[in-house]
Protein backbone atom coordinates (compact mmCIF):
# COMPACT_ATOMS: atom_id res chain seq x y z
CA UNK A 1 0.00 0.00 0.00
CA UNK A 2 1.18 3.51 -0.72
CA UNK A 3 0.52 6.95 0.64
CA UNK A 4 0.62 9.91 -1.69
CA UNK A 5 2.01 13.36 -1.03
CA UNK A 6 0.56 15.92 -3.34
CA UNK A 7 3.88 17.53 -4.23
CA UNK A 8 6.89 16.71 -6.37
CA UNK A 9 10.02 15.14 -4.90
CA UNK A 10 12.04 18.07 -6.25
CA UNK A 11 10.59 21.24 -7.80
CA UNK A 12 10.23 21.34 -11.58
CA UNK A 13 10.64 24.72 -13.26
CA UNK A 14 10.67 25.26 -16.99
CA UNK A 15 11.93 28.57 -18.45
CA UNK A 16 10.25 28.37 -21.85
CA UNK A 17 7.87 26.37 -24.00
CA UNK A 18 10.18 23.92 -25.81
CA UNK A 19 8.40 20.94 -27.40
CA UNK A 20 11.63 19.68 -29.01
CA UNK A 21 13.13 19.15 -25.55
CA UNK A 22 9.91 17.37 -24.50
CA UNK A 23 10.43 14.95 -27.39
CA UNK A 24 13.87 14.05 -26.03
CA UNK A 25 12.74 13.98 -22.41
CA UNK A 26 9.98 11.45 -23.12
CA UNK A 27 12.82 8.89 -23.34
CA UNK A 28 12.95 8.96 -19.53
CA UNK A 29 9.16 8.57 -19.35
CA UNK A 30 8.46 5.56 -21.57
CA UNK A 31 11.92 4.49 -22.75
CA UNK A 32 13.80 1.29 -21.98
CA UNK A 33 15.87 2.91 -19.20
CA UNK A 34 13.17 5.35 -18.16
CA UNK A 35 11.49 5.85 -14.81
CA UNK A 36 8.43 3.68 -15.62
CA UNK A 37 10.68 0.75 -16.54
CA UNK A 38 12.70 1.29 -13.36
CA UNK A 39 9.70 1.43 -11.02
CA UNK A 40 8.02 -1.64 -12.50
CA UNK A 41 11.29 -3.58 -12.64
CA UNK A 42 12.15 -3.09 -8.97
CA UNK A 43 8.66 -3.45 -7.54
CA UNK A 44 8.18 -6.70 -9.46
CA UNK A 45 11.53 -8.24 -8.52
CA UNK A 46 10.78 -7.77 -4.80
CA UNK A 47 8.80 -10.97 -4.40
CA UNK A 48 11.50 -13.48 -5.30
CA UNK A 49 14.57 -11.85 -3.77
CA UNK A 50 16.11 -12.54 -0.32
CA UNK A 51 14.24 -10.78 2.49
CA UNK A 52 17.22 -8.57 3.34
CA UNK A 53 16.91 -6.56 0.11
CA UNK A 54 13.12 -6.48 -0.38
CA UNK A 55 12.84 -3.17 1.50
CA UNK A 56 15.49 -1.57 -0.71
CA UNK A 57 13.62 -2.54 -3.88
CA UNK A 58 10.36 -1.22 -2.39
CA UNK A 59 11.93 2.12 -1.46
CA UNK A 60 13.78 2.68 -4.74
CA UNK A 61 10.85 1.45 -6.84
CA UNK A 62 8.60 3.90 -5.03
CA UNK A 63 11.05 6.76 -5.57
CA UNK A 64 11.14 5.95 -9.29
CA UNK A 65 7.40 6.72 -9.44
CA UNK A 66 8.16 10.09 -7.85
CA UNK A 67 10.73 10.65 -10.63
CA UNK A 68 8.19 9.56 -13.27
CA UNK A 69 5.86 12.22 -11.97
CA UNK A 70 8.60 14.86 -12.24
CA UNK A 71 9.31 13.89 -15.86
CA UNK A 72 5.58 14.06 -16.60
CA UNK A 73 5.41 17.57 -15.11
CA UNK A 74 8.40 18.63 -17.24
CA UNK A 75 6.97 17.24 -20.49
CA UNK A 76 3.58 18.79 -19.75
CA UNK A 77 5.07 22.22 -19.04
CA UNK A 78 7.28 22.09 -22.13
CA UNK A 79 4.34 21.38 -24.44
CA UNK A 80 1.15 22.72 -22.88
CA UNK A 81 1.22 26.10 -24.63
CA UNK A 82 2.64 24.97 -27.96
CA UNK A 83 0.57 25.37 -31.12
CA UNK A 84 0.05 22.37 -33.42
CA UNK A 85 2.40 24.16 -35.82
CA UNK A 86 5.14 24.36 -33.15
CA UNK A 87 4.64 20.69 -32.26
CA UNK A 88 4.99 19.79 -35.94
CA UNK A 89 8.22 21.78 -36.22
CA UNK A 90 9.57 20.05 -33.10
CA UNK A 91 9.05 16.64 -34.68
CA UNK A 92 5.93 15.92 -32.60
CA UNK A 93 3.47 15.99 -35.50
CA UNK A 94 2.96 12.24 -35.36
CA UNK A 95 2.42 12.42 -31.61
CA UNK A 96 -0.12 15.22 -32.01
CA UNK A 97 -2.00 13.28 -34.67
CA UNK A 98 -2.42 10.34 -32.31
CA UNK A 99 -2.54 11.88 -28.82
CA UNK A 100 -3.09 15.63 -29.06
CA UNK A 101 -0.98 16.90 -26.13
CA UNK A 102 -1.62 13.88 -23.94
CA UNK A 103 1.46 12.20 -22.49
CA UNK A 104 2.05 8.66 -23.59
CA UNK A 105 4.50 5.96 -22.53
CA UNK A 106 6.84 5.86 -25.49
CA UNK A 107 10.49 6.63 -26.08
CA UNK A 108 12.06 9.59 -27.88
CA UNK A 109 11.66 7.80 -31.21
CA UNK A 110 7.94 7.14 -30.58
CA UNK A 111 8.18 3.39 -29.89
CA UNK A 112 5.58 2.46 -27.23
CA UNK A 113 6.72 1.14 -23.85
CA UNK A 114 6.98 -2.64 -23.70
CA UNK A 115 7.43 -5.12 -20.86
CA UNK A 116 10.44 -6.51 -22.73
CA UNK A 117 12.33 -3.47 -21.36
CA UNK A 118 12.37 -5.05 -17.91
CA UNK A 119 13.62 -8.39 -16.66
CA UNK A 120 13.03 -10.67 -13.71
CA UNK A 121 15.38 -13.62 -13.88
CA UNK A 122 14.67 -14.92 -10.37
CA UNK A 123 18.38 -15.18 -9.60
CA UNK A 124 19.12 -12.49 -7.00
CA UNK A 125 22.59 -11.70 -8.35
CA UNK A 126 21.39 -11.49 -11.98
CA UNK A 127 18.44 -9.28 -10.99
CA UNK A 128 20.54 -6.87 -8.91
CA UNK A 129 23.16 -6.59 -11.66
CA UNK A 130 20.35 -5.74 -14.07
CA UNK A 131 19.22 -3.03 -11.66
CA UNK A 132 22.74 -1.59 -11.38
CA UNK A 133 23.02 -1.54 -15.19
CA UNK A 134 19.61 0.16 -15.45
CA UNK A 135 20.69 2.92 -13.04
CA UNK A 136 23.89 3.58 -14.98
CA UNK A 137 21.98 3.68 -18.27
CA UNK A 138 19.44 6.10 -16.82
CA UNK A 139 22.30 8.29 -15.52
CA UNK A 140 23.82 8.33 -19.01
CA UNK A 141 20.44 9.22 -20.57
CA UNK A 142 20.11 12.19 -18.20
CA UNK A 143 23.60 13.31 -19.21
CA UNK A 144 22.78 13.19 -22.93
CA UNK A 145 19.52 15.11 -22.35
CA UNK A 146 21.32 17.75 -20.24
CA UNK A 147 23.89 18.05 -23.07
CA UNK A 148 21.09 18.92 -25.49
CA UNK A 149 19.13 21.21 -23.17
CA UNK A 150 19.77 24.95 -22.81
CA UNK A 151 17.09 25.44 -20.16
CA UNK A 152 18.91 26.17 -16.86
CA UNK A 153 15.78 25.65 -14.71
CA UNK A 154 15.02 22.29 -16.28
CA UNK A 155 18.66 21.23 -16.10
CA UNK A 156 18.63 21.88 -12.36
CA UNK A 157 15.87 19.28 -11.91
CA UNK A 158 17.56 16.89 -14.36
CA UNK A 159 20.83 17.12 -12.40
CA UNK A 160 18.93 16.18 -9.24
CA UNK A 161 17.46 13.14 -11.00
CA UNK A 162 20.90 12.16 -12.36
CA UNK A 163 22.33 12.28 -8.83
CA UNK A 164 19.56 9.98 -7.58
CA UNK A 165 20.56 7.40 -10.20
CA UNK A 166 24.08 7.42 -8.74
CA UNK A 167 22.78 6.89 -5.21
CA UNK A 168 20.48 4.07 -6.31
CA UNK A 169 23.31 2.32 -8.14
CA UNK A 170 25.42 2.52 -5.00
CA UNK A 171 22.62 1.02 -2.86
CA UNK A 172 22.11 -1.86 -5.32
CA UNK A 173 25.86 -2.54 -5.25
CA UNK A 174 25.66 -2.66 -1.45
CA UNK A 175 22.77 -5.11 -1.75
CA UNK A 176 24.99 -7.40 -3.85
CA UNK A 177 27.62 -7.22 -1.10
CA UNK A 178 24.98 -8.25 1.47
CA UNK A 179 23.99 -11.25 -0.68
CA UNK A 180 27.66 -12.20 -1.10
CA UNK A 181 28.30 -12.36 2.64
CA UNK A 182 29.36 -15.73 3.94
CA UNK A 183 26.82 -17.38 6.22
CA UNK A 184 28.80 -20.15 7.85
CA UNK A 185 30.82 -17.88 10.11
CA UNK A 186 30.06 -15.28 12.74
CA UNK A 187 30.18 -11.63 11.69
CA UNK A 188 32.45 -9.36 13.69
CA UNK A 189 32.16 -5.59 13.60
Amino acid sequence: MWTYEKKLQYPVKVSECNPRLAKFLIEQYGGADGELSAALRYLNQRYSIPDKVIGLLTDIGTEEFAHLEMIAAMVYKLTKDATPEQLKEAGLGAHYANHDKALFYHNAAGAPWTATYIQAKGDPIADLYEDIAAEEKARATYQWIINMSDDPCLNDSLKFLREREIVHSQRFREAVEILKQEQNKKQFY
Binding site: P50, K52, D123, I125, L179, E182, Q183, N184
Partner: protein, 72 residues
Amino acid sequence: MYTPIKWYHPYASTADPCPPIEWKYYQTPPNLYLGFQPTGLPQFPLKEALYKGTLWPVLFDPYPAPIRGDEH
Protein backbone atom coordinates in the same frame (compact mmCIF):
# COMPACT_ATOMS: atom_id res chain seq x y z
CA MET B 1 35.45 -20.07 4.12
CA TYR B 2 33.88 -19.35 0.71
CA THR B 3 30.56 -21.06 0.14
CA PRO B 4 29.04 -21.09 -3.36
CA ILE B 5 25.50 -21.41 -1.98
CA LYS B 6 23.67 -18.89 0.18
CA TRP B 7 20.29 -19.41 1.80
CA TYR B 8 17.55 -17.42 3.44
CA HIS B 9 14.36 -18.01 5.33
CA PRO B 10 11.54 -16.29 3.43
CA TYR B 11 8.58 -14.90 5.34
CA ALA B 12 5.65 -17.32 5.47
CA SER B 13 2.16 -16.38 6.56
CA THR B 14 -0.21 -18.68 8.45
CA ALA B 15 -2.71 -17.86 5.67
CA ASP B 16 -0.48 -19.26 2.91
CA PRO B 17 -2.35 -21.79 0.78
CA CYS B 18 0.54 -24.26 0.45
CA PRO B 19 3.00 -25.61 3.02
CA PRO B 20 5.85 -23.08 3.06
CA ILE B 21 9.26 -23.81 1.55
CA GLU B 22 11.28 -22.86 4.60
CA TRP B 23 14.66 -22.26 2.99
CA LYS B 24 15.46 -20.76 -0.37
CA TYR B 25 18.88 -20.98 -1.98
CA TYR B 26 20.86 -18.99 -4.49
CA GLN B 27 24.32 -19.44 -5.91
CA THR B 28 27.10 -16.83 -5.74
CA PRO B 29 29.68 -17.70 -8.41
CA PRO B 30 33.41 -17.16 -7.72
CA ASN B 31 33.73 -14.29 -10.22
CA LEU B 32 31.79 -12.13 -7.72
CA TYR B 33 34.72 -12.33 -5.30
CA LEU B 34 37.83 -12.41 -7.48
CA GLY B 35 38.19 -8.79 -8.55
CA PHE B 36 40.86 -8.29 -11.21
CA GLN B 37 42.34 -11.74 -11.68
CA PRO B 38 45.97 -11.86 -10.49
CA THR B 39 48.57 -13.43 -12.76
CA GLY B 40 50.23 -16.75 -12.00
CA LEU B 41 47.26 -18.53 -10.37
CA PRO B 42 47.27 -22.36 -10.34
CA GLN B 43 45.89 -24.00 -13.49
CA PHE B 44 44.11 -27.24 -14.35
CA PRO B 45 45.95 -29.69 -16.62
CA LEU B 46 45.15 -28.68 -20.21
CA LYS B 47 42.86 -31.62 -21.04
CA GLU B 48 40.90 -31.17 -17.83
CA ALA B 49 40.58 -27.45 -18.47
CA LEU B 50 39.05 -28.13 -21.90
CA TYR B 51 36.35 -30.23 -20.26
CA LYS B 52 35.75 -27.83 -17.38
CA GLY B 53 35.53 -24.67 -19.46
CA THR B 54 38.19 -22.80 -17.49
CA LEU B 55 41.91 -23.01 -17.03
CA TRP B 56 41.76 -21.83 -13.41
CA PRO B 57 40.39 -23.69 -10.39
CA VAL B 58 39.65 -20.29 -8.80
CA LEU B 59 36.99 -19.68 -11.49
CA PHE B 60 35.58 -23.22 -11.60
CA ASP B 61 32.05 -23.29 -10.25
CA PRO B 62 30.23 -26.62 -10.48
CA TYR B 63 26.45 -26.47 -10.89
CA PRO B 64 24.56 -27.60 -8.98
CA ALA B 65 27.10 -26.86 -6.26
CA PRO B 66 27.84 -29.81 -3.98
CA ILE B 67 26.17 -29.20 -0.61
CA ARG B 68 28.30 -29.84 2.44
CA GLY B 69 26.95 -31.65 5.49
CA ASP B 70 26.94 -28.59 7.77
CA GLU B 71 24.73 -26.62 5.40
CA HIS B 72 20.95 -26.74 5.26
